[in-house]
């Protein structure tokens, strides 16, 4: 049951369940950010950044913001990795 009077939609879940979900995803996002920073090789970091983008999108969804979820998903999983990989292809040494 929700404490706020009047919030009885077909999609409402108990507040405790929402809390548990939010805490889990927040911990995953913190771990993801740590992983993005601690991976030193740029090409591998791009893949981890992609995963971090999807985790962020899930966090925004759990915070009841579907618009921001769409933005984060398209940017973090498509646009940003493309731009990063093209830059890395340009600066790669020709001997490698």
């Amino acid at each position: 049951m929700t404490e706020l009077a009047g919030v009885h939609t077909p999609y409402t879940v108990p507040v405790v369940m929402m809390d548990v979900l939010q805490i889990t995803v927040l911990v995953l996002v913190a771990a993801g950010a740590t992983a993005v920073v601690l991976v030193r090789r740029p090409v591998r970091q791009v893949v981890v950044l992609s995963v971090y983008g999807v985790l962020l999108a899930v966090l925004f969804l759990v915070f009841q913001a579907p618009d921001v979820t769409l933005s984060a998903l398209t940017i973090g999983a498509v646009a940003l990795p493309i731009v990063l990989l093209l830059t890395l292809a340009k600066v790669r040494k020709p001997e490698e």
């Binding site: 618009d67 933005s71 398209t74 498509v78 646009a79 493309i82 093209l86 340009k90």
Partner: protein, 253 residues
């Protein structure tokens, strides 16, 4: 300054920053107890005033439209900046796009990648267009729709070759589309001024039914222009970087 010294200085400064931040945190009302008057006030009046069921887009393009004009022009400037910074420098030559064997060991694109990219290129463009034109009803809007549109065109590059991508998205046409998008947004706002209303006020008919596609006046129009502009900006950026990677080589080497 060695790496270890750098780390120690950062630890000291970081601890100070964290202490200040936690001191500030103690004054917040806590997660979930949002007290502010602005949010609930907008939620009360938004649907009735604009006939748009997507309140976030109404805030973005009407109540805080001036902010969005600024952000869109940041995007415009960034795309122009990429074009300027990645221009041909002295001493660089263009090698022809079909000569691939010179100094790159490029494996041919696998058939699986080509097929998947081909299958998804069309739907991506349709979905992007749908997102950009439905800002007032669902969680969609010009910004997300524009990025999905741009990724549809990048899938064309993945499915074929760079030349096909160039033919589908010539730089001149993209510049014009981007200009139309950014200028259209500003023109919609200025039209309100000419009709003696404040800048970016809603001067179109609001429609009968809240949440229909043809409702909410200028919000739908502005979202469409923003979608055009964001798509063109991202295709330009990706195109510039692709050209740098594939075509431009040092003159002397």
């Amino acid at each position: 300054m060695t790496q270890a010294q750098r780390r120690w200085i950062f630890l000291v400064a970081g601890t100070g920053l964290a202490a200040f931040y936690l001191w500030g945190l103690s004054g917040l009302p806590g997660f979930g107890n949002y007290p502010g008057p602005y949010g609930p006030a907008i939620l009360q009046v938004a649907v009735a005033q604009t006939h748009a069921t997507g309140v976030v887009s109404a805030v973005n393009f009407l109540y805080r439209g001036f902010d969005t004009v600024g952000e869109e022009f940041i995007l415009f400037t960034a795309a122009s900046g990429v074009s300027v910074v990645l221009r041909h420098l002295r001493g660089e030559r263009d090698r022809s796009a079909v000569d691939e064997a010179a100094d790159r060991d490029v494996p041919p694109t696998s058939s699986a990648v080509r097929m998947v990219a081909l299958v998804f290129a069309g739907p991506a463009i349709v979905v992007g267009w749908w997102l950009a034109s439905h800002a007032q009803t669902n969680p969609s809007g010009g910004f997300q729709g524009g990025v999905v549109l741009a990724s549809g065109f990048v899938l064309v590059y993945l499915a074929g070759e760079f030349l096909v991508f160039e033919r589908f998205s010539p730089v001149d046409l993209l510049d014009v589309v981007e200009g139309v998008g950014a200028g259209g947004f500003a023109a919609t706002g200025l039209t309100a001024v000419f009709l003696s209303m404040p800048f970016l006020a809603n001067w179109l008919d609001l429609g009968q039914y809240p949440g229909a596609v043809s409702s909410s006046g200028t919000i739908a129009l502005i979202s469409f222009f923003v979608g055009l502009e964001v798509a063109a900006a991202f295709i330009l950026i990706v195109g510039e970087l692709l050209e740098q990677t594939l075509l431009i080589r040092q003159g002397e080497s």
